[in-house]
């Protein structure tokens, strides 16, 4: 049975269910469980639910240690940028220990962090920094775009035997969606086709999925059918679903809130250029944030971010159609 829950409610439900299912799951971080009224604390106790000092290196490093010792910690990091304070533990410790020990240890942990809070938080709390983690061998990266995926991907992350960055999008926090009740797992490495279409493939992540779907709705009124694909996890990346779609449409637009050269879309574009070049009938287009720090003032913030109009322009561009609709004379296929 599915019922509607906000994205954040779905995240909390997954965490609660996994903690109830497996008493090795721990939950700690800053500013959680500071009173006995905390629902996680009252249900699971002080051993498993703890507030920490503002000490990201200790929080994440301790998660690594607890994982080495058989537990499955979930670290509440609030903001993805706070991980930057502890980058060694995230990039150079957690994902490498299994490898460097020849498989003698596992490090199952979840780094739960919000990102993309482009609502006037200015330069240091708004980044979409997942791109810098997707190329780290040993790390997995989940980017839920819907409430159901938020639940299913977090549950999968907690059960995974590897370190997982679970990045939830702050702009989606209260976004409602149908969410299955009870145990619900979304496998890693399986993209979701959010909308079927034969004219162009649009790959979007996180909150950009909604923007891509809105743009696709407007394009449909012009007779352009976009296929919108949400990778859901960028490590592992379901390249097969994207290539299959591109084989059908011959055109690819990528929508990513990250800055262009730090985006997941740049990697996906390169993979498609290498493996799917023969299918492409137009150059790949990327609609990303501009290569700038996110500005505070709204007109400037809007300017640097992908939006529906930019997506529509890119789609028309790869199709070679004019803004008024209809295919331009001489445009291919």
């Amino acid at each position: 049975m599915a019922r509607e829950l906000p994205y954040i409610g779905a995240i909390n439900e997954a965490l609660r269910l996994e903690m109830a299912r497996d008493d090795r799951v721990l939950y700690f971080g800053q500013n959680i469980a500071t009173t006995d009224n905390d629902p996680f604390l009252s249900e699971f106790g002080r051993d498993r639910v703890r507030t920490t000092p503002i000490s990201e290196t200790a929080e994440i490093g301790m998660a690594v240690g607890a994982a080495l010792a058989g537990y499955r910690p979930v670290v509440e990091l609030y903001m993805a940028e706070f991980m930057l304070v502890a980058m060694d533990q995230v990039v150079n410790e957690a994902p490498r220990l299994r490898y460097m020990t020849g498989g003698q240890v596992t490090v199952p942990l979840v780094l739960k962090a919000g990102y993309g809070f482009t609502a006037g938080w200015a330069g240091q709390h708004t980044g979409s920094i997942y791109g810098m983690f997707m190329g780290v061998p040993g790390l997995k990266v989940a980017l839920p775009a819907t409430a159901a995926d938020a639940k299913g991907l977090l549950a999968t992350a907690i059960r995974d035997d590897n370190p997982v960055c679970f990045f939830h999008h702050y702009l989606l926090t209260l976004e409602p969606g149908e969410v299955p009740e009870g145990e619900y797992l979304v496998p890693f490495g399986q993209a979701a086709v959010r909308r079927a279409g034969g004219d162009v493939t649009v790959v979007a992540t996180g909150a950009m999925v909604g923007r891509a779907l809105a743009a696709a709705g407007r394009l449909a009124a012009e007779g352009i059918e976009a296929e919108v694909i949400d990778p859901r996890t960028i490590a592992p990346l379901d390249l097969a679903t994207i290539l299959e779609s591109v084989a059908k449409t011959g055109r690819l637009v990528l929508v990513d809130q990250a800055t262009r050269h730090g985006s997941a879309s740049a990697v996906i574009a390169a993979e498609v250029a290498e493996a799917g070049f023969g299918s492409l009938r137009a150059p790949i287009r990327q609609v990303t944030a501009l290569d700038a720090t996110i500005p505070y003032s709204k007109p400037m913030e809007d300017y640097v971010l992908p939006d529906e109009d930019k997506i529509i322009t890119a789609v028309r561009d790869v199709l070679g159609v004019a803004a008024t609709g209809g295919r331009a004379a001489g445009a291919p296929g």
Binding site: R50, G61, R98, T101
Partner: protein, 346 residues
């Protein structure tokens, strides 16, 4: 894990065990060092030796119980040897062989043997400290009385990871003993050049006061003294009273590591930084005179715990064991190249 659950003191057998492990570690490190000249090219990258730290390492580990756990740094050859890891598997790892302790994936800096309680190391200064603290958090939850020994150097005590970890460990009363092996040098920088306490003439153990935990300083060249302090800290941790910072003053007898050189330059160990950089020949000579291995031998022979003949026999056995480890390493096959893509994910 070596040791008994609650070591009350050190009887003759235990003292001989300590001395034996010290000799084995020294001999192992001598063979590693000699490999650079006897078998050039066999050891790659960067290797750090524990010579000079043997009394501190073994005295500390002797205070642990069978189920206790250990984490350390890239200067990691001593701990697993004393915990029972076969020297041959360690040497083969350092030689990059498939038979190595970590299958050739880690090398000298990342020796790990979880089955013997050695949960691993970090190659990055100070970064193993929060991990060991997390292992202690796990031990606290498990509630079976396990204690974690966390080894690191004086340089690490300036890392945020150290300070963040000690704060949490004391706040949560975690069962962890922080053993700060103060060898006086962070690579080529002397402690008083980079540590406010050292510059003020204070021991580094005073850092414990900032985190409301006991801090003690002990002569790391005396395994009995080290054992006494670490055992007290272990007992405190096991009783649920929280962590202790034990500063163990040692003198590393080799340079920080072998030279860092581009391909084509044969790797070797330079002179110790005291000599090479500071020209402090007398400081280094004094450290050699205080070498904990002959010092411990003299003590044990002097007080009748050990005969000279028995001590010679221990040294002879260690020589044979480590010579065999070298041969095992040299004769072992390399990993298949395509094994490089194993173990990326669990």
């Amino acid at each position: 894990m070596a040791g008994t659950e609650e070591p009350a003191g050190l009887d003759a057998d235990r003292l001989i065990w300590i001395f034996t492990q010290m000799v084995r570690i020294r001999e192992f490190e001598e063979r590693v060092k000699a490999t650079f000249t006897e078998h050039p090219g066999v050891i790659r990258g960067h290797t750090h030796l524990a010579d000079g730290a043997e009394a501190s390492i073994v005295g500390s580990l002797a205070a642990l119980g069978r189920r206790d756990q250990v984490m350390a740094t890239y200067r990691c050859h001593g701990y697993p040897l004393a915990l029972g890891t076969p020297a041959a598997a360690m040497m083969a790892e350092i030689y990059g062989r498939a038979t190595g302790l970590c299958g050739g994936y880690g090398g000298s800096m990342h020796l790990t043997d979880p089955g013997r309680g050695f949960l691993g190391t970090s190659g990055i200064v100070g970064q193993g400290i929060p991990q060991a603290t997390g292992v202690a958090y796990a031990a606290q939850i498990r509630g079976e009385g396990q204690v974690v020994a966390c080894f690191f150097g004086d340089g690490a005590a300036k890392q945020g990871a150290f300070h963040e970890s000690l704060n949490v460990a004391s706040l949560w009363k975690l069962p962890v003993v922080y053993v700060l092996e103060n060898n006086g040098y962070n690579v080529v920088t002397r402690a008083e050049q980079e540590d406010a306490n050292a510059a003020a003439g204070e021991p580094l153990a005073v850092k414990a006061r900032a985190y409301s935990m006991p801090g003690v300083t002990v002569d790391g060249g005396d395994p009995v003294a080290v054992h006494r302090e670490v055992a007290a800290a272990v007992a405190r941790a096991r009783a649920g009273l929280g962590p202790t910072l034990v500063e163990s003053t040692i003198y590393r007898l080799s340079a920080h590591g072998n030279i860092i050189a581009p391909p084509g330059v044969p790797l070797h160990f330079p002179e110790h930084e005291a000599v090479e950089v500071f020209g402090a020949v007398e400081e280094y000579e004094a450290a050699k005179r205080g070498d904990p291995v002959p010092r411990t031998r003299a003590t044990l022979v002097g007080n009748g715990t050990l005969t000279s003949a028995a001590a010679d026999q221990i040294a002879e056995s260690a020589r044979a064991e480590m010579a065999e480890a070298v041969q095992f390493g040299l004769q072992s096959p390399f990993p298949r190249p395509d094994a490089a893509v194993n173990f990326v994910y669990a």
